[in-house]
Symmetry: none
Subunit: 208 residues, 4 copies
DNA sequence: GATGAATGAGGCTTCATTCAT
DNA sequence: GATGAATGAAGCCTCATTCAT
């Protein structure tokens, strides 16, 4: 069988495993349940993965990357860097529909799995987030240079705030009924707007 | 009858179970491991709990309440409501030491357990958070009336922001090495300060 | 505590144990359930019985003897031996009310327990039934001598038939709804009547 | 796939389980013991049965049907309905050898299991026996029409008697040493003979 | 390559019994 | 004498994994 088939099969397994984790919890991801959901036999899994842990990891990675991809896609068509990136990126990144809801559930499973097991996995996650922080930081600085973001705020503070708010919003949104999520997340846009520099920085006092 | 305080024994079990969840993960909380950690036989657990699920729930509740208690204790000695409540409360509430680190790990297990199982447990969590939001909202409004918080910010926005930031900070802090956590969380204090009304809104421009 | 108290307590335990066996099955007779039903603590049972098997045996014996007693009581007031003994004895012996229903259920448990375990218990049961057969046989012979039972039937045949029919009727009645049991058992009386000698053995052919 | 006939494997399990019940009692039918007796691992049982109760039921059914089959086989070669059916049928039906002894022990376990648990199982047993009674009744009536059975006896009485006697004989035979069983059961044949109409009902008095 | 039967460790729970109080 | 907490074996069941077909 060609490599592409092998890979696409692996992804299919990861995808279904991810859905099982999201819907029933990590402990419900058994080889039996997975094979049943995939419509194949138990033994076939061992052709694509050496152990169950590999499957779990693949499911984690799949969901994690889907969220990242979703965010990248949201700004892919935008041509120039601007503060306007934030809104679609946040919208795309947060669990505001069923698909991203599932992915976030899996991502949290990933986080707590790594936290518990420690080791390489945890290091990878930390590293990944750290790199993302650097990117964000640079992004803010660029926007500040371009005059799209107020210069009197420490970029690092914005970055930290953004990371905590998005993570917390994602967590909290999972417990909010789907119809109310949009409105619940809307306040984030207001905060983004507060980052814009005051248009007429003349004589008047600007409260915030 | 052997002299045993039934409630304190239950709490001891819940406490140890909570520690196991935090350190090894929920799936490592087996009756064998728990009994071993408690230094007693497996059968003894059934004297205090009717099922393992009850133990899990007790462990969840124990850790959850410990965080709440920690925050309440932090402001217990303060005599008058003021914005100064926030700093010690946040400091007490976030996972900035080993004990609260364990409790937050368990709390996240609780959240994701409820999210997966749904049912009454999820409803309870949502209700609890909802009530806390109302309290927070009233708190902000009171501070605004007292002139301790700027009146040009929607209280609801502050509440939402606070909830998401604390939740996200807690999550993110868990992945930060303990020594760096204090400094990582410090930015929150800066944000709290930004809520204070501008002392002298006279001639000078105050950017934010 | 005086012996009479000790004995009456033992009987109470046996009685309640017997009821549990009848209603829920032998495997539902646990020390916990028994103590609960008795309204006493688990430990108290060991004052009266050395092991659970002793309790089971006592329960078996209690129910077994109650059936025997019931039958003896039924003919206690009758002054002279006659075929009329049979009807009240059968009526008293069979599971025609709730109490004797329970006792028979226990008795069958006893039989199958002995059959399985073998040993002394089985020997005792066989011995007991054997003695009863002898009594019955003598009883029939006496009635035949008195002319109350036809002399052309082998007494042993009557005895065997009676033992099998009563045992089988008891077993089958347990599966018949209580209201229908009386009518179901009534045919036995007709058979008893057939044992009576033909009153006028003259010229006419008497088929049977 | 390993070559295994699923149904024959199920029957094998049921058969061995049945033997264990007969020899050691229902409570000795543990998964461990059963697996050991089958010469396989414990886990294999779950391939063929969803629970232990299913195994118990299969064992019950297996033994129950074996008795029925044994009786049917006994009259299979007989070409015409006649009273002569009875003797081989009874002989085949009663526990007169080791195999049918085991099956009857299991059947009694089945009866008392159903009696205790009630529910659908009990209803099924009652229904089965009820249908068998109807068949027997029709059989008797047919024989009466053919002149093979005396017409002065109520068919229903014969049926009831037969059912109780067979059930009781089976029960009592279980407690009789194997060598004596044949002679113990022989009286039943005498009773069957009494059902035959008197050949020459002429002048002579026939007492019975 | 695909199948699913087989394995046996380990999950939770229940049990009769013991014994400190 | 009475209590019920403690014990640990053994109950049933589920699991990831292996391997003959």
């Amino acid at each position: 069988m060609r490599k592409v088939d092998h890979d696409s099969r692996r992804e299919e397994v990861a995808s279904v495993a991810s859905r099982l984790i999201a819907e029933k919890g990590l402990e419900a991801l058994t080889t039996r349940a997975l094979a049943k959901e995939l419509g194949c036999s138990i033994g076939v899994l061992s052709h694509y993965f050496n152990s169950k842990e590999e499957i779990v990891m693949a499911a984690f990675k799949w969901a994690d990357q889907r969220i990242d991809q979703r965010m990248q896609n949201a700004i892919a068509e935008l041509d120039e860097i601007s503060l306007d990136y934030f809104i679609p990126m946040i919208t795309a990144g947060l669990p505001l529909d069923e698909a991203s809801d599932r992915e976030w559930r899996v991502r949290f499973n990933l986080y707590h799995y790594c936290l518990t097991k420690g080791g390489k996995g945890l290091k990878e996650q930390i590293e990944k987030i750290s790199q993302f922080r650097v990117l964000m930081d640079e992004f803010i600085r660029t926007l500040q240079k371009k005059g799209e973001v107020r210069r009197d705020i420490d970029p690092e503070l914005i970055t930290k705030m953004a990371f905590d708010m998005v993570m917390g919003a994602a967590q909290n949104l999972l417990m909010v009924p789907m119809p109310e999520r949009q409105s619940h997340a809307a306040y984030l846009f207001a905060i983004v707007e507060k980052l814009r520099p005051v248009k007429t920085p003349t004589i008047t006092a600007v409260p915030a």
